[in-house]
Symmetry: C2
Subunit: 329 residues, 2 copies
């Protein structure tokens, strides 16, 4: 019997606080050695788009085994009126290997990417943070704000947003003010996000730095979830040098894919030893922020463990709440 869950089913079942808890647990189990994130498979030719295969296992109390299949076809919107990114998650029973749940993965991808930032905020942003500045007002950015809100235990009061697309920024303002009841200010330049903010989130498609690291004020926590190629980055080398705590969703994944860290390492500004998986801080192996004046950085490139954890959460809840279709096949 396989439980099938549409995007609408997933939306009914998944909340950001839960996603945040599950992604935190995934990071923790990775550090404890109870999780496996195999190198993902990416392949394209002779297809027109990219397919990514992202399997993973998380042990501990979660006991989750799942694989996400994501495709990225840039011509989809224009040619087929379909989204560029499509995803499904196949959840296996960890005791038998049987695929027992198949669900839409697009909302889960956005939520778990948000949740990564939320976990970093929970652990290494200043406890008295109340203001967020975010680069991009897109769909992913909205989940980031929600995650920061919950990562701060609802203490977020204000969000400043910068996006070249004014209409998108207006929609963002309307949606976030309605959803979270916080004040949203649309700013005119990227640098406006850097003053009087406690947390800065970069959630863009940019492959070059969004701001000068010199302009970041002391005490800021920065999360970058955009660029994910060795030669692409949202953060410059200055801010990486200024930051006293450099963290990653998974250090190994960032060292393989995140230009934000790879470029400064290649420049000799930092070394691999300066970067810590956030799980090291969650488990208490490594201290987190030690003063209100520190600048802290979190970089996440997206790893299967996030999808596996949130996919398991959604599957378990679907069974409990009787949501979705049961199909014998």
């Amino acid at each position: 019997m396989v439980r099938l869950l549409t995007k609408e089913d997933v939306a009914k079942l998944l909340t950001m606080p839960d996603a945040l808890n599950y992604v935190e647990e995934a990071y923790k189990q990775l550090t404890l050695g109870n999780a496996i994130v195999p190198q993902r498979i990416a392949f394209t030719d002779p297809a027109l788009g990219l397919t990514l295969i992202m399997p993973g296992i998380i042990g501990g109390k979660m006991n989750a085994l799942a694989t996400k299949i994501v495709s990225v076809y840039k011509q989809n919107p224009e040619k087929y009126n379909m989204p560029t990114v499509l995803a499904k998650i196949m959840v296996q029973d960890i005791n038998t290997g049987d695929i027992v749940g198949i669900m839409d993965g697009s909302l889960i991808t956005a939520m778990r990417t948000g949740a990564a930032t939320g976990v970093s905020v929970k652990y290494i942003a200043r406890k008295n943070s109340t203001t967020l500045g975010i680069y991009s007002a897109g769909v992913q950015a909205r989940k980031q704000v929600s995650a920061v809100y919950w990562g701060l235990d609802k203490k977020l009061e204000k969000c400043k947003v910068y996006d070249l697309k004014k209409n998108v920024a207006k929609d963002f303002k309307k949606e976030i003010e309605s959803e979270l009841g916080i004040d949203v200010e649309i700013v005119e330049s990227g640098d406006d996000l850097l003053s009087n903010t406690d947390i800065v989130v970069a959630a863009t498609t940019s492959t070059t730095p969004l701001f000068s690291g010199n302009k970041v004020v002391e005490g800021t926590h920065i999360s970058s979830i955009g660029a994910h190629a060795p030669d692409a980055r949202e953060l410059d080398s200055i801010i990486i040098k200024r930051a006293s705590l450099l963290t990653a969703g998974l250090k190994e994944a960032c060292l393989a894919e995140a230009g934000d860290y790879i470029i400064p390492i290649n420049e000799g500004i930092i070394t691999e030893n300066d970067i810590f998986s956030i799980g090291e801080i969650i488990t208490g192996n490594k201290p987190g922020r030690t003063s209100d004046s520190e600048i802290t950085v979190f970089k996440s490139v997206g790893i299967s463990a996030q999808d596996v954890a949130v996919g398991k959460l959604v599957y378990d809840r679907a069974l409990k709440e009787g949501i979705g279709q049961n199909i014998a096949f």
Copy 2:
């Protein structure tokens, strides 16, 4: 919209001659450089069993993109009354990346493994072959016989079978005689399969050679689809040395996983250059059998391209014949 196909649906849609044609086309496209078989992902701890993730793309006229997720949990039969091996295949639309078909993969796995042998028989067994000797009477072996039957264009007249489990051998005889209308003889020793046979198939779970290569008669074609680890093999070094044509489903896959070739290479008996992908012969890049006295060998370890091809075949036919369930998710 996703088309869901149960094992019963797949059984209605899939015939061996079709599987053979599609696997042949997959091998051909691999050799032509129009197909990708990424290194499969295998992972286990902290789960009790093994999960294999096997994606692939085949271009050309087939235009197939799919991923098989297979699990191997040895405790399933005893603990859960479930099969050890479970599999599902996710078929994507190669133009959009969208997952459009999800089907049971167990029958497809058996059929495509049979089809591999069938393709080798079609291309490199003696044209006047009429008799098969097969090691194992198990489920997989039955598909092998069917594949040899179709690979010989229905000219197979007799099958000799050896299996330690007498009841399994009796079931095999009954099933094959009924299905294919050929004579089945249950023999008392493995060596009985080697005389008066044109084709020998090894389809066992053995990790050590099944027979002495000295006992194989000239002109025999041998297919081994069992062992698939670098230190495991069904064929000994003698037969590998005696054979004048050594072929593989995919050379690179066999060089990575097949002890049948890896061990003799390490012993210095053959070199990598002595092994050819069967696609080289299908495309005419390399001559096949050149005389009736040659001994030819085919070794297959199972590659995603076989599943991708047969999965696409089943999906296309399901749409055409209106079989399976359409689910919007």
